[in-house]
Subunit: 382 residues, 2 copies
Amino acid sequence: MQQYLLIPGPTPLPEEVLRAGARQMINHRDPEFGQLLAETLAALRRVFMTRHPIIPFAASGTGGLEAALVNLCSPGDEVVAVCAGAFGERFAAIAEAFGLRVRRLEVPWGQAVDPEAVRAALRATPQARVLLVTHNETSTGVRQDLRAIAEAARGHDALLLADAVSSLGAVELRADAWGLDVVITGSQKALMAPPGLALVSVSDRAQAAMRTARLPRFYWAFDRMLAELGDTEAYTPFTPAIGTLYALREGLRLVEAEGLEARWARHRRTARAVRAGLRALGLRIVPDEPVASETVTAVWLPDGVAAGALLERLRVEHGVTLSGGQGQFRGRIVRFGHLGWVPDEAVLAGLQALETVLPQVGGPAARGAVAAAREVLAGAPA
Amino acid sequence: MQQYLLIPGPTPLPEEVLRAGARQMINHRDPEFGQLLAETLAALRRVFMTRHPIIPFAASGTGGLEAALVNLCSPGDEVVAVCAGAFGERFAAIAEAFGLRVRRLEVPWGQAVDPEAVRAALRATPQARVLLVTHNETSTGVRQDLRAIAEAARGHDALLLADAVSSLGAVELRADAWGLDVVITGSQKALMAPPGLALVSVSDRAQAAMRTARLPRFYWAFDRMLAELGDTEAYTPFTPAIGTLYALREGLRLVEAEGLEARWARHRRTARAVRAGLRALGLRIVPDEPVASETVTAVWLPDGVAAGALLERLRVEHGVTLSGGQGQFRGRIVRFGHLGWVPDEAVLAGLQALETVLPQVGGPAARGAVAAAREVLAGAPA
């Protein structure tokens, strides 16, 4: 059965990426590797829209979040954390695990944060060392207005650390133009590579903060990494994930061949199509339209439908894999991922399967999901 | 040109492993993944020879060393570290970075530690929380007698943490029978998978220590991992390196098809063949024969031979990749790796290329490396 992996990551890999990732191993101290990594980092700088270095860790995205904190903070430092879902909570929890004093800016799940509230929280925390923001809150399907948040944070000394794991490469993000000090993403989302690499950009201001920050670190130490990252050859102090880097270089080639702005437009259009299809089935989108994510759509489960039964039937009988909810949304929502390599056909297959299965598990028997989505997909780019 | 990657890791990957690693992504929360990880961990337990859990981190082996320390120690704890090369030094340096008080048991590079010296160091450090040992010191080509070291440590409360990154799966190691509390390895050495996974076994005693250890941790926290590792389905709290796990499962299948004892014997024989070939060229092995590693052979550079010129010529003109020295051995030795998937043909090609190139870069003009190695390979297993 054809499989449709429609979750907010890991995302399906194009054939070219799978093939590139299956190349034979090389010596990670030889120029062939040095060039592979340098090329990959150069492409990443274009996609992050930064002239600053990007550090590649063999780790999941969560490792990148931890790396950012332990390199920039000292014990007892104050932190302002925007918490609008499970991933914002995770960023804050990492900070607390390292003995930082976290002031949570709580936002009801499913809503976007008001940039003015960020400004106020920073004003109330003049000593804050860092501001933590999740660009795209994968657990609620809300994309925050990171640009406006960065503007609200301007003038405060806090460094802006942006978790862009499920946004970068699919959604507009301009690290330097917006003044983001650290941007963290993973290889397995919009960049269309397997999981296993955390990628972390570090501004000049962040590099200066690193020099005085005293949290203990070894594996995550930025300075040890930065010392080996040249422009024409780049190496890492510890064995890099060579196969995943091969795949990532190819994923980035595909990203740049499509073009960043074209990619952002495609993700906007696909997201609109998914929302139109889901609404045609009588489902209610969790966030309001203007803040709905371009990479993952969350819908409320209809009364009487069990998430487990719905997801299992979709997977087993239709080869369609969606995600359930996390944290306070567990059992209450379903998430439809559409980031990275998302052919229209996959989105339509997912909607068709939902239309078939929903009435079988006690949900509404509505029709027209595919037609509604097709209409959007046929229209002009958003 | 046919390439021969003869370094102490990353090691060349068999075709089956490359193919397995190129499978399409799946949902890391679905049973298909849960079974992949559970099967992989069960095979790892057989290869580690332990009934205790093994924790898979998306990280390099160094990440596994850090994980072991931060889960088992509290600030200011005393540590005894056997330092006999660059990797022993690294383990000690990680401990120091986290504020532990490290008592180094210094061993001249190229020599093995005397287990009685370990016993004495522990006796002199009654409060030591952990003992750090590098099973196979990749930087010097010395394999420590881990079993005797573990016996010498018995009766002391210190937990034994063994860095087995370049030994496990190639060299005898019996985690439970020898009483090793934590054994750390990586995917990219004898297990014949790409780099990107650190694998860490945790004894009951180590799990008890974990409950009171106070060093800060989040990404590396054992307890969060252990909570999701079941016997028939296993998951990870953060996105796992799915492609590398596919490859590792296949690498482990090949390891078990060959058989552990047969594998240890093969590595012993290959190492003897390499040493015989290198000696035929007039090269001097760094360690004494009884402690020479079964996975990597270090030889002194002959007078007047520059490491860079030798290694580059081997690589560019013969497709043979060897390694140079690290730390105090930089520019003084060459290392010939022979672990994991090492066809006799690759070893012979490496020796033949060395025989050709050595006189071209100012070294001795000797003959007979291949014949000497062949003789060993044709003989009975060691």
